[in-house]
């Protein structure tokens, strides 16, 4: 069994080492992120059976939990670690071709730091440590959004930075308030004492956390940075931002809401919030002509759906939410990669400029199509089991509010279908029929990640049972709060 701390330390160490490696050979730098996340992926997968059995706790520096920082590698954490490592590995293959002529090493360093931050967020059991890793994630994201250095990138990065650091500030105030009242920073320890004080003094940190993490999780109306940032970043980074960063933000919200505060009676509010986010995301995406903005708004919509699923606060709902989360991560990463490759080919982000791509870039178009179908939730792709589970959970819940909101979810899904199918039609059927000869070769480094993402989407769409056990265990971890607390603070 590998120590979970290595999932953070190995990529971090390699990121630190890149400036030194640069002296040895500039060529090998681009392979370092792939190496790091391959390591994470392999060992995280091997750790999964262990954490399914019992949570793995790791102390840092040899101090028992309330005193020192601890890592909690439960099913939820490991689920995210595997996801981050998987996406990190595949997207880093895509980046074997330099994104920009200069500064390749900085790109790789920032990329690794971003994903290391994400890994740290999902593994740590300490609220302040979570904040620190969250900041790594955010800062690396700001920098990477601006990485291309063009007008759009810089503008988006500034806006992202202003909103993001406002959110971080709010989180910090919340941490201060919690420490002032409970005198501890360990999440399990705080969770054990949370109901011992007056409500308002706990409620305010809660809303500060929700707002702060909500900025990164792209809850409506905190998500104004997202369409700008996702559309201006390099496509690989858009994939990571959309596939990992906002999900990790959502993880933080979940951790706070379920584990830290153990809320049970505000779920109606979150259900509403989720559906509002979903509807607004899909409506905005519907009227976009810029493909990356469209995908970005679609991410907002998906986050809304996830929030809805998690807010059902039942095993079914949370398991369904996690399934949908994985499906969104894989699908959206694939879509951004495919779209990015097509944008690189046409030099334009307008959807209309993708005419005839089905002939010129058949594989990329196919990958995009499968990603789009999966997003809409068509079988046999991965989106279907996710949507199925969420609907099942919602109907199982059976409350009037849920059922009414369900109608809006259905409407939003139809809208989502409409704009995704529009792009698919443009890819294959718009404009004149091109002769077969005009086919652009697929670079190996582009082909492999897209192929693997596509394969995963299909395999998990046909055999969802491969991961459902893990998802159920994750749902249990989030819902069984006393057990979580007891296992850390005996």
């Amino acid at each position: 069994m590998v120590n979970p701390v290595l999932f953070i330390v190995v990529p971090l160490g390699l990121a630190f080492a890149i400036p030194l490696l640069k002296y040895i050979s500039k060529k090998i730098i681009r392979f370092v992120p792939a190496l790091a996340f391959l390591f994470n992926l392999i060992f995280a997968l091997r750790l999964i059976p262990v954490v399914m059995d019992h949570q793995v706790h790791v102390q840092i520096g040899g101090f028992i939990p309330p005193l020192g920082i601890n890592l909690v590698a439960g099913p939820v954490g490991m689920l995210f670690v595997v996801l981050i490592a998987l996406v990190g590995f595949l997207v880093s293959i895509y980046a074997f071709h330099p994104i920009k002529e200069k500064d390749e090493d900085r790109y790789h360093i920032l990329y690794m730091l971003q994903l290391t931050g994400a890994t740290g967020v999902v593994l740590t059991g300490d609220i302040f440590n979570l904040f620190v890793f969250f900041e790594i994630l955010c800062l690396a994201s700001y920098s990477l959004v601006a990485y291309l250095g063009n007008r759009a990138g810089i503008e988006s990065a500034v806006k992202y930075l202003i909103q993001g650091s406002l959110g971080s500030g709010l989180i910090l105030i919340g941490i201060g308030l919690l420490y002032g009242q409970f005198g501890t920073l360990n999440m399990a320890d705080i969770a054990g004492r949370i109901h011992s004080v007056q409500s308002i003094s706990v409620y305010v940190p809660l809303v500060l956390f929700i707002t702060g993490f909500g900025v990164e999780a792209a809850l409506f109306p905190l998500n104004a940075w997202l369409p700008d940032a996702h559309s201006s970043a390099p496509s690989t980074i858009s994939a990571v931002l959309s596939g990992i960063a906002i999900e990790v933000g959502l993880y933080a919200v979940l951790r706070v809401v379920f584990t830290l505060f153990g809320i049970t009676h505000m779920m109606g509010l979150f259900l509403l919030l989720g559906v509002l986010t979903l509807l607004i995301g899909e409506l905005c995406a519907f009227s976009q002509d810029n493909i990356k903005r469209m995908l970005a708004f679609s991410s907002i919509g998906q986050i809304g759906l996830l929030v809805f699923a998690f807010s059902l606060a039942s095993t079914l709902g949370i398991a369904g939410g996690f399934f949908q989360l994985i499906s969104h991560t894989l699908g959206k990463a694939l879509l951004f990669l495919a779209a990015g490759y097509m944008i690189a080919h046409t030099g334009s982000m307008e959807i209309a400029s993708f005419q005839g791509m089905g002939k010129r870039m058949p594989f990329t178009s196919l990958a995009f199509t499968i990603g789009a179908f999966s997003m809409v939730g068509l079988p046999p792709f991965m989106g279907f089991p996710g949507k199925f589970m969420i609907l099942k959970a919602a109907l199982h819940d059976g409350q009037m509010l849920t059922l009414i909101l369900l109608v809006f979810i259905l409407i939003a899904t139809v809208i989502e279908g409409a704009y995704f199918f529009r792009v698919v039609q443009v890819l294959y059927f718009a404009g004149e029929d091109l002769p077969d000869r005009e086919r652009a070769p697929v670079a190996f480094s582009r082909f492999v990640p897209m192929f693997l993402f596509t394969g995963l989407i299909i395999v998990l769409g046909i055999y969802p049972s491969l991961i459902t056990d893990l998802l159920d265990a994750s749902a249990l971890e989030l819902l069984d709060r006393p057990d979580f607390i007891k296992s850390i603070i005996p």
């Binding site: 809303v207 009676h265 099942k392 139809v414 409409a418």
Partner: protein, 618 residues
């Protein structure tokens, strides 16, 4: 043949066809035909069998079950046969176009998934195959580019909406009964309240109604059928929309049980009456809208909508005779409508894509086989005796009249009257009348098109004379649903208030025909006159002023046209525009001014704090 193997053959065959196409086009075409031949043979070998098989034990903890029974058998066989005909028809049709591998792949995928749907034994696999069918159909409808794109869009949006509604209904059934397997649902549904059943039925009616093109949900069908490539139009019209019919029968007879269905709800307003009403509207409006069409395929498309109404009437009526009528009409319609689409497709193929009725004419001399096929198809559509449409329509009329539903019977008859009008328009405008100059060098349809057309024409006639063949299978399936079977024999049906025996009719007609033939034979010999050798008010009409048949039913159509607006379509278009406008409006909240964005964050925080101060949620 085992069901799993059957599905593996068709799905695997589809993929293999696609891959083979990368190597050799000819081999691909042959393989596609072989796959469907194998499927047809496999399904045929399952005749009369009732069995289930487990496809997969745990998809999200649900078993995926396949089952075969006579009711599914007749649908599956029809799908395979019509699919086979359409694939043979494609041989020449598709050769000139691009993306042929893709065409074959999707064509086979659609057919495979339809076979999957009718063979599925639980709702989850039903839904999965249903959705595969939906998106592959979408890709094929869009295949022709240009206007087909809008048609495909309309189709897929409605389809996704419908299947989501179905998903909700299906999961709701699961939460009610704890299973998704059809038998299990039937068993556990006894305790469900009448209100709940109606709710579920309406959900499923929306889903199936969209596929089956019931009146307010039909708007995707006319553009989709007319813009799709013709072989696929015949699949669409012949079998794909019948999957909706299949769903209706399955739901009403297989799951809810017909006794429960008939007695549901209010005396005046219940889902059955609603369905009957919609069926009547679906017969009436589209029939006369079809009359207004000048596009051959669009005319047929509207006709399909109208004919679907007959099936709905038959199914929703809920007696064993009406069910026989509905199911038989499905079977017959699959034969003659796919035949008619092939006829139009053959014409379109030879004239390089001309479908406008007003610019065609006189093709009888150039394409005689096609004409004969078209004539037989049209006769079937109208329900002329000795063609198959006659028996099924007779059964439906008979039910309606015997059970005292004069209004519905009247509507059905009125629909047939309209059918005659537009059918004649179709056959006349294409094949009769004046041959335009530009078509004088036209060739007859290629063999690959003739073969399926002849086959289907023969089928139309054979099943018209021997309706007992399909009715026998339908009887078996009715027994499966626990209903009283009809008294039938090879030539027809015996009922208490009337009997239909095609043997008698055939004999009578044959005798009559012989008499007529003798009569004409003995009368004066016809003289052939040159086309220009005639007179109009004493003066010969110059060749260039000769009137082609345009605006055929002008007085009638100008009278009824104002009442035949496709309001449903306008409504959906307005809805789509409205949503787009709302989206355009809403995205203005992302003003680009970061000050506003920060304001949103603070606003969110303030609202959350306000909620606590005001309502004390914690």
């Amino acid at each position: 043949m085992k069901l799993e193997i059957l599905l593996a053959v068709v799905f695997g065959g589809s993929l293999l066809t696609y891959l083979l196409g990368k190597i050799s086009k000819r081999a691909r075409d042959i393989l596609a035909i072989l796959v469907l031949l194998a499927a047809t043979a496999g399904i045929a070998s399952l005749y009369g069998r009732s069995s289930t098989a487990i496809l997969c034990t745990g998809f999200l903890d649900f078993p995926l079950v396949l089952r075969i029974h006579p009711f599914a058998w007749i649908f599956a066989l029809t799908i395979a046969v019509v699919g086979l005909c359409a694939v043979i028809f494609s041989w020449h049709y598709i050769r000139k176009k691009g993306r042929t591998d893709f065409f074959y792949f999707m064509m086979l995928l659609v057919i495979s998934s339809m076979i999957g749907i009718v063979l599925s034994g639980d709702f989850l696999s039903f839904y999965i195959f249903w959705e595969i069918m939906s998106w592959s159909t979408f890709l094929l409808i869009s295949y022709n580019r240009e206007e087909a794109i809008a048609a495909g869009m309309k189709y897929i949006v409605m389809s996704v909406a419908g299947s989501l509604v179905m998903l909700v209904g299906m999961i709701s059934l699961y939460t009610q009964t704890g299973t998704l397997v059809f038998e299990g649902i039937t068993r556990n549904l006894n305790s469900a309240s009448s209100g709940y059943l109606q709710f579920i039925l309406i959900l499923f009616f929306v889903a199936f109604g969209i596929k089956n093109a019931i009146w307010p949900l039909h708007v995707w069908l006319p553009p989709a059928h007319s813009e799709a490539p013709s072989p696929f139009s015949s699949v669409l019209s012949g079998i794909l929309i019948k999957i909706g019919t299949f769903g209706f029968i399955l739901l009403i007879y297989g799951i809810v049980q017909v006794q429960v269905f008939v007695n549901l709800g209010h005396a005046l307003f219940n889902v059955r009456n609603l369905l009957l009403l919609l069926g009547a509207v679906t017969i009436l409006l589209p029939t006369f809208i079809a009359l207004l069409q000048d596009d051959a395929k669009r005319l047929l498309a509207w006709s399909t909508v109208a004919q679907a109404g007959y099936m709905i009437l038959g199914i929703a009526y809920g007696t064993s005779e009406s069910l026989s009528g509905g199911t038989l009409h499905f079977f017959n319609h699959a034969l003659f409508k796919s035949l008619l689409f092939m006829v139009v497709g053959a014409v379109e193929f030879r004239t390089n894509g001309v479908r406008d009725l007003n610019s065609l004419g006189g093709l009888i001399k150039k394409m005689p086989v096609t004409f004969a096929a078209g004539l037989i198809g049209v006769c079937g559509l109208i329900g002329v005796p000795l063609t198959n449409g006659f028996v099924s329509k007779w059964l439906i009329y008979h039910t309606l009249i015997v059970n005292h539903s004069p209004f519905l019977a009247f509507v059905a008859l009125l629909g047939t009257w309209g059918t005659i009008l537009y059918s004649y328009k179709l056959i006349h405008h294409i094949f009769l009348g004046q041959l335009p100059r530009k078509y004088e060098q036209l060739n007859a349809a290629p063999v690959s098109m003739k073969v399926p057309m002849i086959f289907l024409s023969l089928a139309v006639v054979v099943f018209g004379v021997l309706p007992g063949l399909p009715l026998h299978v339908i009887n078996l399936s009715e027994i499966g649903f626990g209903m009283e079977p009809l008294a039938i024999n090879m030539w027809g049906v015996v009922t208490g208030s009337g009997t239909i025996q095609m043997l008698n009719i055939a004999t009578a007609l044959t005798l009559g025909g012989i008499v007529l033939w003798l009569f004409f034979r003995m009368g004066r010999k016809n003289t052939r006159a040159d086309q220009l050798d005639n007179y109009a008010a004493g003066a010969p009409v110059p060749a260039d002023r000769y009137q082609y048949s345009v605006k055929f039913y002008d007085p009638l159509t100008s009278m009824i046209a104002p009442y035949l607006k496709d309001t449903a379509d306008n409504f959906y278009s307005a809805l789509a525009r409205g949503i787009r406008n709302v989206g355009n409006g809403i995205r203005r909240i992302y003003t680009g001014d970061v000050g506003n964005y920060v304001m949103y964050i603070i606003l969110f925080l303030a609202i959350l704090i306000f909620i606590q101060l005001y309502w004390k949620v914690w």
